[in-house]
């Protein structure tokens, strides 16, 4: 069999297993990733299969995890660190920004930093504080890092392997609300390049872009819009740094309108970046300003407010309507 239906979490697990099997320098490290298999079970069974030297639980300290991963990478290993939840990455922020991101430049290119940091992120799971955030912007603003986020099991399977193979540090954002959703994984397909975006639904009137769990929302919105006679083109960013702009520009040249959606707060965000850059590069094509549909500029609210906080298909359509009204 070369294609199998798998939930995203199992596709990741398979991708990690493949990476561990292919390269003895690959290590998995983090909190609760060993016997427990991670709180989301992404690493389930991997310690049993590859042993405690390849897949191990660390002391409970995120700065320590990333800081020691840097040392391991200097030694020639390819550590893959799990951060348990989006909101708990901040204790590691200093090691990520002042060390990991700068290490290769600091060595004038002589020392690669093949470190992957896996971050389950985003809302829609009804969890308590710090468990539903989308911190991508902080890392996107940090030169020296690469950021990606798969939205499907197939991408999850392939992108985790490409991230691990990268000689540069990769922040790997996993849309946790999609963990349990199934999709086909083609074990034989040659993967798209890690940093390419992809048109996932063609359309003609308004381009909508997003990443991770937002893709599903955008596709829903496109269905609803189609039913009302409006044609949306949906683009999955896949890579958040660098951003693969060509497909977006090409699409905007066709549609003349762009809506950028994200769970993260919109102020000083990746959505702002896309709006600014697409406007700069496709100024004469735009018939309306790029509109952003994002989480509000507040801390992530208590779970009972998440449906108001997070953009849903209706909020996407509201922006689509506004874009069309120009």
């Amino acid at each position: 069999m070369t294609t199998e239906e798998l939930p995203l979490v199992k596709a990741l697990n398979a991708g990690l297993r493949k990476a561990l099997a292919d390269d003895p320098k690959v290590l998995l490290m983090g909190e609760d990733i060993g016997p427990l298999g991670g709180v989301f079970r992404v690493t389930e069974g991997l310690q049993a299969e590859f042993g405690v030297k390849r897949v191990f639980d660390t002391p409970l300290a995120e700065s320590g995890i990333v800081g020691t991963a840097i040392g391991l990478a200097m030694r020639g290993y390819r550590p893959v660190c799990e951060i348990q939840f989006d909101g708990f990455i901040f204790p590691a922020f200093d090691q990520i920004t002042t060390q990991l991101a700068k290490m290769t430049a600091r060595h004038e290119g002589k020392v690669p930093m093949p470190v992957v940091i896996r971050v389950p992120y985003g809302g829609h799971i009804g969890a308590v504080e710090h468990h539903q955030e989308s911190p991508e912007a902080y890392f996107a603003h940090t030169a020296g890092l690469r950021l990606v986020s798969p939205s499907t099991p197939n991408d999850a399977y392939w992108m985790i392997q490409e991230a691990i193979a990268s000689q540069d540090p990769v922040m790997f954002f996993e849309p946790k609300s999609r963990y349990w959703h199934k999709g086909p994984v083609d074990f034989s397909s040659s993967p798209s390049p890690l940093h390419s975006s992809r048109v996932v639904r063609e359309g003609t009137e308004v381009t909508v872009v997003g990443h991770g769990a937002m893709i599903n929302v955008l596709l829903q919105a496109a269905e609803l819009a189609a039913a009302e006679g409006t044609s949306l083109e949906v683009i999955d960013l896949r890579s958040l740094s660098p951003i693969d702009y060509e497909p977006i520009i090409a699409s905007v040249q066709k549609t003349g309108r762009l809506v950028v959606a994200s769970e993260a707060p919109g102020f000083v965000s990746i959505s702002s970046e896309i709006a600014a850059t697409v406007t700069e590069r496709a100024f004469y094509s735009l018939e309306s300003p790029v509109l952003r549909v994002t989480g509000f500029d507040t801390p992530f609210p208590p779970a009972k407010l998440e449906t108001s906080y997070l953009p849903d298909a209706d909020r996407i359509l509201e922006a689509v309507d506004r874009a069309l009204a120009y």
Partner: protein, 365 residues
Amino acid sequence: MIQLLSADGKLASDAASAEYIPYIEALSDDQLRQFHRDMVITRRFDLEATNLQRQGQLALWPPSQGQEAAQVGSARASRQQDHIFPSYREHSIAMIRGLDIIEVVRVMRGVSNGGWDPATNNNFHLYTLVLGSQALHATGYAMGVSLDGATATGDPDRDEAVMVYFGDGATSQGDVSEALVFAASFQAPTLFFLQNNQWAISVPVSVQSRVPLYLRAGGFGVPGIQIDGNDVLASYAVTRRYLDEARSGGGPRMIEAMTYRMGAHTTSDDPTKYRHDKDVDEWALKDPIIRYEKYLRGRGESDAFFTETAQEAEDFAADMRARTLELGPPSPDDFFDTVYTEQHPVTAAQKIWLAEYEASFGSES
């Protein structure tokens, strides 16, 4: 390890423990009974909350079963004017400090990310989920207590101290070490209360440290001590003494309470993946409530008291359940209004936008 109560519920009296016995002797019968009551009620509502979570009424519940003695003893040792910074499992401490337990339920239901005002709740601060962060807040608070001259005046009924709770896993976080550095540097009246329940989710304490954790304190110049955390009397007496030493100008202190998390880490956790029933069974033999009940019975406490307490616990749990089910959803407007204390154009505008947007559906449907 300081232990005042033997496994069969007798007052122990080895050399190290003997000096703490006077703290117990000073307790009234009512106070001794209250310890039992606190533990039994806690265990009961903790179970109720776990059930409520299973029934979809809560987002999460971190059970405290097994840790009641460590919590109740230390909380009862705090004085009215003291300040408590919990982690996220200190439900009995919340109750003892007089916080309406429904406030904790609101957090675990996803209605609030906190919500109560410590100043009007006997200085019981919010739960903190980012492990170890609160150790610095407590230390800063204690530095403020010192600056106010509200400590070390020689009057233990007025002098303030600060107690901060955290787990064995949290000790690995840089923030906990930094809190020890700051507390020692400023000789702040902070008592670091570490509940070593042997686990950080699935990771055993041996991954965090190969030596007993109370030794950590000494390296920072902070006196540390290990106690039997399943012994409510040891927890009470040692905390009482350490808090009083801190409040009287002795500087920071640390207590490591050896206990065990009998349940899952939280309702999301499946401990069968990483630990053996055998270990849990062994710790069950050290159950803090059973042991203390033996002690009280040894002192002649009547059956009636235990029956009444059980009923009290049932009533408490039933009340908590009823009020949980009544909890309404939070309001987005209130949320927008409380991100900042002073007016803010962005949240103000987004609040209006969302209200109008949501209203637009109301009028359509």
